[in-house]
Symmetry: C2
Subunit: 324 residues, 2 copies
């Protein structure tokens, strides 16, 4: 804990599998942080109020006027309170207007809404909006036109135009990988033998996905099995091959959607190891204007809290005093 | 049981989930048939010899000189004896030469080999070879050039040229559907509510798959969830929508692989309800020269046993006597 800073905001990243709390000071700097494996599917007794009190109750007691804001699945139907989605295109102000503030039993808590893209093929996200607007705060040059990629269970590809979240897509790559690994014949050899990382196997999967062209990988998934049966893919490398096929299919599809247009500047946000894997895969698909960004969530929590008037950025004079 | 016919062959269709035995007479006509849910993953105590004896021991006792032949996963590494694959292209003679005959403890049993297509993207099948050569026996006009489709857990698309199995592909459509239904977020609404068949939802999934073009459905799978969240797809219809997306992706990929060439005459072999669903889907993709074929397995067992010299077709004079 940074003892000299003045707490200004309690920010929570409360997703499906984990809960992280930030105590933020002037300009959103980190004063303290805590986490628990209390994602909404794993909150003890499903008691969100108790989990909230246990994690941050002492902060609230010490600084009762500091507001609290939360992003993620805690605002979903399965969460504490359901926050209606705001419409896409969305900006930081529409998110701020969509906050749901309620009495948590331990002070007020404001939940950030997710975003719904309506139409024949609707799309939703919840939690990623906070990372997205955090990224735009960290890298203002992205605001004009950029592609933000948040790989994971459900990878989100968000197109930014004019400081707004203009459009987004969802690729269930991570969940597909997990269900195939755990429950399909493709994962069986690796379930019976220990795995060993193989970048070669990953690249081979990527290559097969790219070469599938307009057919896509649907007719090649089974090669994870047939290459093993033919003695040409060791069980211990089979999951990396499958990962290459699936991430390759995601990128093949995205490249096809560009229809020959140049890919805008691309930023990867999320788990660093997974982001590096995507960066390698993107390079293989000849998309090289790629950066990795961290700390997007807590910056987004701060940015949205500012837009909602929950906090105000420190005045220059305060800042000057501290840093000289 | 047909009491007047003379048994000539015991044929077994012994797959992953079920075991069916045919007692076949002259020209492969059915004399008797039996089945048990004793697929190789469900054989009591994993004792194949005992299961075989219990199912057909009385036939063997009554007609000790009648040979026995089996197709399917019973000849795989997880089965009774592993029968090496024969190479693709394959014909009925190469299958006959590849039979593995051994003492079952209840008379000799010959296992039919599967087929391996070698190369950078190998492929395997086991059991379908018997259906394929049964189909060619039932419909000799297919021998020149045809596309045989065996939908199921792993759909096989087999190209026939000059009476040979020339090439084949595997689409894991059925297994993908099953793991997504049982284990992914896409199946959750239907797992919590009862399903109701909806051809409209199936057609809607098909339509979205076809319209995905070169991008494929990887970025549209999540619409099974988002349409539900948007109130535009009832939970009870969501599985039919998902089925449409996945079967649609299989057909979209196959059509792309044709690269504009005319699809050869197409025959569907397998479960009649599933074959009709594929027939509807193929019509939506404008492939209309499609027939459904039944009884392919037992015809294939008979055909391969003939080619191996285990049985000989009845002489014309015998046939004439019976039918006049």
């Amino acid at each position: 804990m940074n003892e000299t800073a003045t707490p200004r905001l309690i920010g929570l990243d409360w997703g499906t599998s984990s809960l992280r709390a930030y105590l933020l000071g002037d300009n959103g700097q980190i004063v303290d942080t805590r986490s628990q494996p209390w994602g909404i599917l794993h909150t003890p007794e499903g008691d969100f109020a108790k989990a909230f009190r246990e994690l941050v109750g002492d902060w609230r007691a010490q600084w009762p006027s500091v507001p609290a804001i939360a992003a993620g699945m805690i605002g979903s139907r399965q969460g504490w309170r359901e926050v209606p989605y705001v419409d896409c295109p969305a900006d930081v102000d529409s998110l701020a207007k969509g906050l749901l503030t309620f009495d948590s039993g331990c002070g007020e808590l404001s939940l950030i809404p997710g975003v719904m893209q309506r139409g024949a093929l609707p799309n939703v996200l919840r939690g990623e909006e906070t990372q997205i607007f955090g990224a735009l705060e960290l890298e203002p040059a992205l605001a004009d036109h950029a592609l933000l990629v948040l790989p994971g269970t459900h990878s989100k590809w968000a197109t930014i135009r004019g400081s707004r979240l203009d459009h987004f897509s969802t690729y269930m790559t991570g969940e597909l990988f997990a269900v195939l690994r755990e429950h399909s014949i493709l994962g069986r050899p690796a379930r019976e033998e220990s795995s060993e990382p193989s970048n070669d196997a990953f690249m081979r999967g990527l290559t097969n996905a790219r070469e599938s062209g307009a057919e896509g990988v649907i007719g090649r998934l089974f090669t994870t099995r047939s290459l093993f049966l033919a003695g040409d893919l060791p069980a211990r490398h089979s999951l990396d091959y499958l990962s290459g096929l699936l991430i390759g299919e995601e990128l093949r599809s995205v490249v096809a959607s560009l229809k020959g247009a140049v890919c805008p500047p691309l930023v990867l946000i999320g788990d660093p190891a997974l982001c590096r894997r995507y960066q390698d895969a993107l390079a293989f698909f000849e998309i090289t204007d790629v950066r990795l960004l961290e700390q997007a969530t807590r910056t987004g929590l701060w940015r949205i809290a500012c837009a909602a008037g929950l906090v105000t950025a420190a005045t220059p004079s305060q800042e000057d005093t501290r840093h000289v």
